[in-house]
């Protein structure tokens, strides 16, 4: 009698042990999953911390020399692993004009159009402009000394992922339409809030 009962009990004890083992394995698996997702989120934090080094620039000026300085900084910083964000406003916005673009404008907008430089190639110097003689000389010297031209630096910036934001308020004031500005990958038409959001976490912000 007792032997029979023991025989009955043995499998059930074994299956209970199996069940409890299964529960343990499940709990372990769940904890492992939890840990791995925590590791993932930690890795994300580390990754974003590594990328937090950034250079933000307000490009206010529209003269060739200042733009060259801005783009030397931008390409250099991007090549050094920094996120670079440029915010073009006032004369800086006008400097991004294409050589030509046909758009409908009001009289005042057209007048601004006549006075503003037509294209990156037509930018004046902030000093020693000499009615356009200065920029021609600078461009000649730059070419001779192996300095990339402004057009080349803009193309390099695009390649390196430098972000260009254009102030819509200045565009409105100067009567500039989006289709008049140089094509740049991911260019963003925005306002001060967007610039501040981008620049605030960075340690390096310049006004040019």
């Amino acid at each position: 009698m007792n032997q029979a009962a023991a025989r009955e009990a043995a499998p059930s004890a074994a299956s209970e042990r199996l069940l409890s083992l299964e529960r343990e394995v499940r709990a372990l698996a769940e904890r492992t999953l939890e840990h791995s997702s925590r590791l993932d989120s930690l890795a994300e934090v580390v990754r974003s911390a590594g990328q937090s080094e950034q250079l933000s620039m307000v490009v206010f000026s529209g003269s060739l020399d200042r733009l060259i300085a801005a783009f030397v900084l931008a390409t250099g910083a991007a090549a050094s692993g920094m996120r670079v964000s440029m915010f073009f406003t006032f004369w800086g916005t006008a400097a991004l004009r294409k050589d030509r673009a046909a758009v409908k404008k009001t009289l005042v907008e057209r007048m601004f159009g006549w006075m503003l430089p037509k294209g990156v190639r037509k930018l004046p110097l902030s000093q020693m402009n000499m009615a356009g003689g200065g920029p021609a000389m600078i461009r000649y010297v730059m070419k001779k000394k192996g300095v990339a031209s402004l057009e080349e630096m803009i193309a390099m910036s695009a390649d390196l992922g430098v972000e260009i934001n254009v102030c819509t308020m200045s565009m409105d004031l100067l009567g500039l339409k989006p289709e008049e500005l140089i094509d740049y990958p991911g260019r963003c038409f925005c306002g001060v809030a967007k610039f501040l959001e981008t620049a605030a976490p960075g340690k390096l912000t310049l006004f040019l």
Binding site: V72, T75, G76, A79, S80, G81, V147, A148, L160
Partner: protein
């Protein structure tokens, strides 16, 4: 080992060129760059520190500098 020639190119081109070239390397691979920009010795040292890449050597070869960088 590949050698890039950035001679005759001025700041920031040598740095931009090396940054691009490093992307195509596998960790442990090295690359040499030649440049005659006067800022190059200081800039390449700073760039390697900043990007945590190993500057194996930096020599003046008379008319130009040659740096060898190992990808981390």
């Amino acid at each position: 080992m590949e050698t890039i020639d950035a001679r005759g190119k001025s700041c920031p081109l040598p740095i931009v060129i090396i940054a691009k070239a490093m992307k195509n390397l596998l960790p442990g691979q090295s690359i040499a760059i030649r440049a005659d920009d006067r800022a190059f010795p200081e800039d390449i040292r700073a760039w390697c520190r900043k990007m945590r890449q190993e500057l194996l050597s930096l020599e003046s070869k008379g008319a130009f500098f040659e740096a060898v960088i190992k990808k981390a």
